[in-house]
């Protein structure tokens, strides 16, 4: 079998997905056997014009991580789509927007104002802001345009596969590598994780979910054997796809939903809200108001990783 051409690219990303590929450790040599890497800015020095020079569809698989939040990222996403047979949204940012998509509770003007003017360490009396085009003594310099709204990869190009996770766990990455090596990828549109929720995978004891108070993680020391939701700690397990190995739960911390919504759920945040409200055992109007007050940041908690793929997508300013 001829070597595959593999591209890895990062948009509005932290680099964790690239590290995740390396966390396959010695199995990376199997990847090197299987594929020639034609783009990986973190590791190799291929530039944008190398990709431009390639024939359309000549890249077999492109693993694209990171959300899209500026013009350069959107342009490269489109370029890579053109040059690739298969696009994979790799990691929660590319799949759902991820943490950067929390930026959808604000916009460019507010972000710029905070970063360049308001921040207490700033020394910017001339109110200088970064510009998409600026004349300096020697010539003109350019920067990409910063968008108001963070987008998922599928908002700008067609995507064949989704690998959720922040970052995707090693066993799922190896599953994909194996599928590539044996030419046995699942049908396009597939999400490479479990078809069930995290609760199904979670090893804690689950009894009846009936709570009368919400606790924030630092307010209590949870019982490590018992379901966290049953202890009044908001855990997004019921509205989150499984397949991550329940690693956060094992560290005695609640799920924050990085694997995205489970099968059949359109909006992860709304689903979690509904689930949480269902298990609250309060009837009295004043008690309801009290427990609602204890959920201190519903939008930022239920949509922690999923703003770009949510129904409302962003805050109305």
């Amino acid at each position: 079998m001829a070597k595959l051409k593999l591209a890895l690219y990062w948009a509005a990303s932290c680099g964790g997905c690239d590290v995740a590929v390396l966390d396959v450790n010695e199995k990376i040599l199997d990847v090197a056997e299987l594929a020639d890497i034609v783009l990986w800015p973190v590791a190799l020095d291929f530039k944008y014009h190398h990709i431009q020079a390639m024939d359309d569809g000549s890249i077999d698989v492109c693993l694209f991580n990171g959300a899209v939040r500026n013009s350069e990222q959107e342009n490269i996403a489109k370029l890579l789509r053109q040059k690739s047979k298969v696009m994979v949204a790799f990691g929660s940012c590319a799949c759902f927007g991820g943490i950067p998509a929390l930026g959808n509770f604000t916009n460019r003007d507010e972000i710029f104002q905070r970063a360049y003017i308001e921040a207490p360490s700033n020394d910017n009396h001339s109110s200088t802001f970064p510009q998409t085009s600026i004349e300096v003594a020697e010539g003109e310099l350019e920067l990409p345009q910063f968008y108001d709204t963070v987008l998922a990869l599928a908002d700008v190009v067609g995507v064949e596969y989704f690998m959720p996770g922040c970052p995707p766990p090693v066993d799922l990455i190896l599953k994909v590598v194996d599928a590539l090596a044996t030419d046995s990828l699942p049908p396009p549109g597939s999400i490479i994780a479990s078809e069930k929720t995290l609760c199904d995978e979670c090893e804690r004891k689950k009894e009846e979910k009936k709570i009368t108070k919400i606790y924030r993680p630092h307010q209590v020391i949870p019982d490590p054997e018992k379901c966290l939701l049953e202890q009044g700690i908001i855990c997004l397990g019921p509205a989150t796809r499984g397949g991550c190995g329940q690693r956060c739960i094992q560290a005695n911390m609640p799920c924050r939903g990085c694997f995205g919504p489970p099968e059949g759920v359109y909006d992860q945040g709304a689903k979690m809200l509904s689930a949480l409200a269902s298990i609250c055992d309060v009837k009295d109007e004043a008690e309801v108001a009290r427990i609602v007050d204890e959920v201190v940041d519903p939008a930022g908690t239920f949509y922690r990783f999923g703003m770009s793929s949510s129904m409302l997508k962003r805050k109305r300013m």
Partner: protein, 143 residues
């Protein structure tokens, strides 16, 4: 028709056993009310998944009304209590999305309360008219 010409579109989820019958009663008694509420009949206010409300806003609604049986009278015993927990939490969350509190209203209307139904419809229509249309801009002016 108001002076500005803005006529809000409001989706109204009414439960089969109480509020939908109340709406029906208002109709047969020819009670005058604003025409802005489009009614969707559900079996119980507890059936209203928060995602319905989001979808309504996404698809162009300026307001959403959810009407159920009075607490204690739910045909399914507990359904309206679930709505009573979900909708306030949803409204709090919608506030974080810039969707004003008055755009969503949960209330209780019995089958014989045609007048109450009319009053609530008129109130929410007036409130939402005042707030203006809900922005459907999913990208913002920059990009």
């Amino acid at each position: 028709m108001n002076k500005d010409g803005f006529e809000p579109k409001i989706v109204g989820f009414c439960c089969n056993w109480c509020s939908y019958r109340g709406a029906d009663m208002a109709g047969t008694a020819r009670m005058k009310s604003a025409p802005n509420v489009r009614i969707v009949r559900v079996m119980c206010s507890g059936r209203v998944d928060p995602v319905f409300v989001l979808k309504a806003f996404k698809e162009g609604a300026d307001g959403v009304l959810i009407l159920g049986c009075h607490p204690g009278d739910c045909h399914y015993a507990e359904g309206n209590y679930k709505a009573a927990r979900r909708i306030p939490l949803l409204k709090k969350m919608l506030g974080q999305f810039g969707i004003e509190d008055e755009r969503v209203r949960l209330d209780w209307v019995s089958a014989s309360e045609g007048d109450r139904f009319t009053k609530i419809v008129n109130e929410i229509t007036a409130k939402v008219k005042e707030l203006g249309p809900l922005s459907r801009d999913e990208r913002g002016p920059n990009g």
